[in-house]
């Protein structure tokens, strides 16, 4: 077994009373792909910053290449060949690809003048090392996220890197881009460079890494070869709870019930055509497709944002015009864009205010809020949803995570929403909150009869929570699958044939 490149032993780190890292050890060999997993706030970022020399540990030793450091500075970390690619990439969006790549070496040489030929040569060499081709004179801002990331990786590799740390590298990538990233990570590995992959996405960890270290609340809870883990063990280690992966089961309403949503031949010039489907009360329908397949356009149409559409949309058997957001809301349609399920709370405000935030217009008379009605409405909702709190006047921040999610849920119920359109409901959300969001969406469908359209890239999420899955491609519905009769691999294969 080769000597480890990086060896952290018994690292402790406190921040104003919080034990952010508690006796964490980590060992990475040269050329190893290692995954550091943990939920938000588990101490992942702190650990990266200790390795990068940004934070000095309170105690413990750091050994790089057999050399031990009591206090590692950022410069020393760089000199030892450690490069961190943060989520924001630290690139200049207004400069060209070439300049972004060559800027560091130009500055290092202490140049006064810019030699553009040399800039292009340095940049070309950096991209060649990764075997990728990106237009050197393109402005960085014009590249997709994946392109920016490749530039950041190429830049990190320029200075004799021995280990690259990638912080949540797949967050904004599509499935195909993730595959490409992985093949590049493997190419880096062949140059005997170690890669520390920081993530909370289990499938990706299992696919790419050789070893996994999991931390929770600053403690290392598991470590070992990837073959010893599977999705459910990782989830358990990360959250400290058992998660059941039961699929959503939908019981059709009695015959004769009009569908909650009926879309007839919906079209938007240049974007959508011939979309027809229906959705019963209490049903969760997943929609997926490659980026640009028109799935977001479908969501926007349902929310009245494409006034020039053709075709008809019926809610509970009644046609609704959907030429403005107001009409969509009046028809009982709620649209939740990415991340809003977790970001939609005013944490320092009271539970009551949060519950009523979306309906103040309705419950106020002549611009004055009716206090009594306000309180009774909120009280009944707190009872209804069993939100555990002594008083609705307490701030939302005093609630546990699960109860906070119920507040979000209650707000949607109060708007009398009958159809909930979710676009990427758990993008960038860690495993624990993800499970809570899924439970909440299911509860909305099961207990309150909402129809849910769940648009997502996350195939396991759809298979688990939807009872039907629609696949879109180039503005059309190309396939409709019973979730019970498929799995993520089959879906993923289907999407690959479309690409």
């Amino acid at each position: 077994m080769a000597e480890p490149f990086l060896e952290l032993r018994n690292i402790h780190k406190h921040f104003s009373g919080v034990h952010a890292l508690n006796d964490v050890s980590l060992s990475i060999r040269p050329g190893e792909i290692h995954c550091l997993a943990g939920e938000n706030g588990s101490g992942k970022s702190t650990l990266i910053k200790v390795i990068a020399g940004v934070y000095p540990p309170d105690s413990g030793t750091i050994e790089i290449n057999g050399k031990s450091f009591a206090k590692l500075t950022p410069i020393e970390s760089l000199e030892q060949g450690i490069q961190v690619i943060y989520q924001d990439f630290s690139l200049f969006r207004n400069l060209t690809v070439a300049e972004n790549l060559a800027l560091n070496s130009q500055l290092r040489e202490g140049r006064k003048l810019v030699n553009w030929k040399q800039v292009r040569r340095i940049a070309r060499e950096a991209l060649d090392r990764l075997g990728i081709d990106i237009d050197l004179s393109a402005e960085l801002d014009s590249l997709p996220v994946s392109g920016k990331q490749l530039v950041a990786i190429a830049k990190a590799l320029m200075f004799d890197a021995r280990m690259i740390i990638m912080d949540e590298p797949t967050t904004a990538l599509t499935g195909r881009e993730v595959d490409r990233l992985f093949s590049i990570v493997r190419a880096i590995q062949c140059q005997n460079i170690a890669v520390l992959f920081v993530s909370h996405k289990m499938r990706e960890m299992l696919e790419i890494s050789e070893r996994i270290t999991i931390i929770r609340n600053g403690l290392k809870v598991a470590e070992g070869p990837t073959s010893e883990f599977n999705e459910s063990t990782i989830t358990t280690y990360m959250t400290g709870r058992e998660h059941t992966c039961q699929r959503f089961t939908f019981t059709p309403p009695p015959a004769g019930t009009p569908p909650r949503l009926e879309v007839e031949n919906l079209g938007v010039p240049g974007k959508l055509s011939g979309i027809s489907f229906s959705l019963a009360p209490g049903e969760i329908v997943g929609v997926t497709g490659l980026l640009g397949s028109g799935r977001t356009c479908l969501a926007l149409s349902l929310f009245g944002l494409t006034p020039k559409h053709t075709g008809r949309v019926l809610i509970d058997g009644r046609p609704v015009p959907l030429t403005s957001i107001q009409e969509a809301i009046a028809a009982g349609i709620a649209y939740v864009p990415e991340d809003r399920l977790t970001e939609g709370l005013f944490l320092s405000q009271s539970i009551n205010r949060n519950l009523l935030a979306a309906v103040f217009e309705r419950i106020s008379r002549f611009l004055v809020i009716d206090k009594a009605q306000n309180d009774s409405l909120a009280r009944s909702m707190i009872l209804d949803l069993q939100i555990a709190t002594p008083s609705g006047k307490n701030p939302v921040s005093s609630l546990s995570g699960g109860n906070q999610q119920r507040v979000v849920l209650g707000r949607w119920l109060l708007t009398n929403a009958r159809l909930l359109v979710l676009n990427g409901p758990t993008v960038g959300v860690d495993v624990g909150s993800k499970a809570e969001i899924h439970a909440m969406v299911r509860a909305l469908a099961l207990e309150h009869g909402l129809g849910v359209v769940m648009i997502s890239d996350d195939l396991p999420e759809l298979v688990q929570n939807a009872n039907r899955i629609l696949v879109m491609h180039r503005g059309r519905l190309v396939s409709e699958i019973e979730a019970a009769r498929t799995d993520e691999d089959a879906l993923s294969d289907l999407l690959k044939t479309l690409a």
Partner: protein, 325 residues
């Protein structure tokens, strides 16, 4: 259509369109004397615009340059009259130096206290103007006492035409100074590390510091050079119109910023080019000039300038948003 992304082509197209339109409404537009007069009006505004471009690219904004231009010009000419000095070179050096020092004051506050450049430059502009009027004087220096050599210098022409009726017009040689400064600014911005540091700082100041740029030096460079260009332009202006007026350049700040933004510079920093700026200045001067020819009241010109600044900014913002989707 990648070429549409380049601001210079858009401004160029707008310019051509405007020229054709104006030429149709008023055929006199295309006469040589009008073109010469337009180019002449470009000189002072263009030189100031080069400074404003620098500040905008760095992510800042400067509304103090008209005040600094007045300070450089009025103090220098007052001093020349006081000591009875004749000459051209040293007065320009002095005016440029005054502008630069005042620019350093901007840089000091912007850098040292991380203040918003708009507030700092509003403050310095007000102080400088107040100081000039209160301490140095309120009187205009007219042609009868303006230093003769300055007037002679600024009346030099590249090409003169004499009309049959004996009147004469020509292309001012000052256009060469403008062109020279523009080329120099282009070279500095494109081929020097300090120039690139201005773009880096305007793009992302945190990252710029992280990769090792000295932002203190960049800030002093940006505001110092912008002030120096203003002082120089003020002196040139006074020489060209044979008059030193301590109340000059009122409202010019918005005109110049509008021209630079029209030329594709981003009001949020990080983007802008010398070619675009020159086109923007030409377009704005031309539009204002045509409004005068068409006998539109000057008050309405303010409306037009305000409209241009909002439209130009809106278009750039719209373009940038489209790209990021």
């Amino acid at each position: 259509m990648a070429f549409l992304q380049r601001a210079e082509y858009i401004v160029g197209a707008v310019l051509v369109l405007a020229m054709v339109t104006i030429g149709i409404i008023n055929p006199a537009f295309w006469q040589l004397d009008n073109i010469f007069s337009l180019l002449r009006s470009n000189v002072v505004m263009g030189i100031m615009a080069l400074g404003v471009l620098l500040v905008l690219v760095s992510g800042g904004i400067d509304v103090s340059f008209p005040a600094f231009a007045v300070a450089g010009m009025y103090l220098t000419i007052k001093l020349m009259l006081l000591v009875g000095y004749q000459g051209v070179f040293w007065p320009f050096v002095l005016a440029t130096g005054i502008g630069m020092v005042l620019g350093f004051v901007n840089a000091f506050f912007v850098h040292r206290f991380s203040l918003i450049p708009l507030i700092v430059t509003l403050g310095t502009a007000s102080m400088v103007r107040g100081f000039l009027l209160g301490v140095v004087g309120t009187s205009m220096i007219n042609i009868n006492i303006m230093p003769k050599q300055l007037i002679n210098f600024a009346t030099a022409e590249l090409w003169s035409v004499v009309n049959p009726d004996g009147t004469h017009y020509g292309l001012t040689a000052m256009i060469l100074i403008y062109a020279g400064l523009a080329v120099a600014m282009h070279l500095v911005l494109t081929y020097t590390m300090i120039g690139r540091s201005v773009y880096a700082m305007g793009g992302d100041a945190v990252s710029a510091r992280r990769v090792g740029f000295n932002l203190r030096r960049t800030t002093f460079f940006v505001y110092g050079l912008a002030g120096a260009l203003a002082g120089f332009a003020g002196m040139l202006h006074s020489s060209m119109i044979w008059l030193a007026n301590p109340r000059d350049f009122g409202g010019l700040d918005l005109d110049v910023i509008a021209a630079v933004v029209l030329g594709g510079a981003s009001i949020y920093g990080g983007k802008g080019s010398v070619v675009g700026t020159m086109l923007g200045v030409f377009t704005l001067v031309m539009v204002k000039n045509s409004l005068i020819i068409m006998k539109v009241e000057t008050t309405w010109q303010r409306v037009v300038v305000g409209l241009i600044i909002i439209l130009a900014t809106a278009i750039t913002a719209y373009r940038d948003r489209k790209k990021s989707v």
